[in-house]
């Protein structure tokens, strides 16, 4: 059994290589998990956008580092709320820090605008974004 198994005793966890082309797969899973909680396609779209955006921020546009930088892990739990955590770790710096400004747009503005509250945790071992949605 792989290590870290107990982590996903419930819910779904997707790990992808830090490869921009795989972010779409994460969006697909996020939409599938959200769709299981509701028939409201606006809600599904909101989750798809926010999870995809969080994942894009941590994967970064730099495909060159794919494979060398460890995965980005997205775990989704349906409990009292739909809870999603996106983690990236280790050696690679997050490309666009929350204060950076690329091409005149602040990359984190979209995620902040989408989520009333999301939590960023930074440690020596990486970065983790947590978001959640009420279930109706």
């Amino acid at each position: 059994m792989p290590s870290g198994a107990a982590r996903t005793a419930t819910g779904v966890t997707v790990s992808i290589a830090r490869d921009p082309s795989l972010v779409r797969t994460v969006r697909l899973v996020a939409a599938a998990v959200a769709r299981r909680t509701t028939g409201d396609e606006d809600f599904v779209e909101e989750v798809r956008l926010a999870v995809g955006e969080a994942c894009a921020l941590l994967v970064g546009p730099d495909a060159a580092s794919a494979g060398s930088a460890g995965p980005v892990e997205v775990s989704m739990q349906v409990e009292d709320r739909l809870r999603v955590t996106v983690r990236a770790g280790g050696s690679v710096a997050v490309h666009d820090a929350p204060t950076s400004d690329i091409d005149g747009i602040e990359p984190w503005a979209l995620l902040r605008g989408l989520m009333d509250d999301f939590e960023i945790e930074r440690g020596a071992d990486g970065i983790s974004l947590s978001m959640s949605w009420a279930l109706t």
Binding site: L49, G104, L110
Partner: protein, 112 residues
């Protein structure tokens, strides 16, 4: 599925019809197309987003970068977008005020 880009000229503008998902993977293709057009002297761009299914901040960054490029040549960049879920993204990020967003190609080309 992926990103599709179709370009044609009309009435002094270059219309780029974008289809599919503009995300962290595909946005560089759109950026390269805009860079190529501007390099060819096409400074008046219309980005038709009617067939776009998904847009993330990387895509927004490419649009803002494109706007800067054409403005450096006294050009223009207009967007065509009717989809509420995309318009919301422009509003949330404050970019609805930065871009001229039109509801049709006719509308976008009519403006002088």
């Amino acid at each position: 599925m992926d990103l599709s880009l179709e370009t044609r000229n009309e009435d002094g503008h270059t219309i780029i019809e974008v289809g599919g998902e503009i995300d962290v993977y595909t946005a560089p293709k759109l950026r390269d197309k805009i860079t190529e057009l501007v390099g060819n002297g096409d400074y008046h761009l219309v980005i038709d987003m009617e067939k776009v299914d998904f847009l993330d901040s990387t895509g927004l960054g490419v649009l803002v970068g494109g706007l800067k490029k054409v403005r450096a040549h006294d050009g223009s960049m207009r967007l065509i977008c009717n989809q509420e879920r995309l318009l919301k993204i422009f509003r949330i990020t404050g970019l609805a005020k930065v871009f001229a967003i039109h509801s049709s190609q006719a509308d976008a080309l009519a403006e002088r």
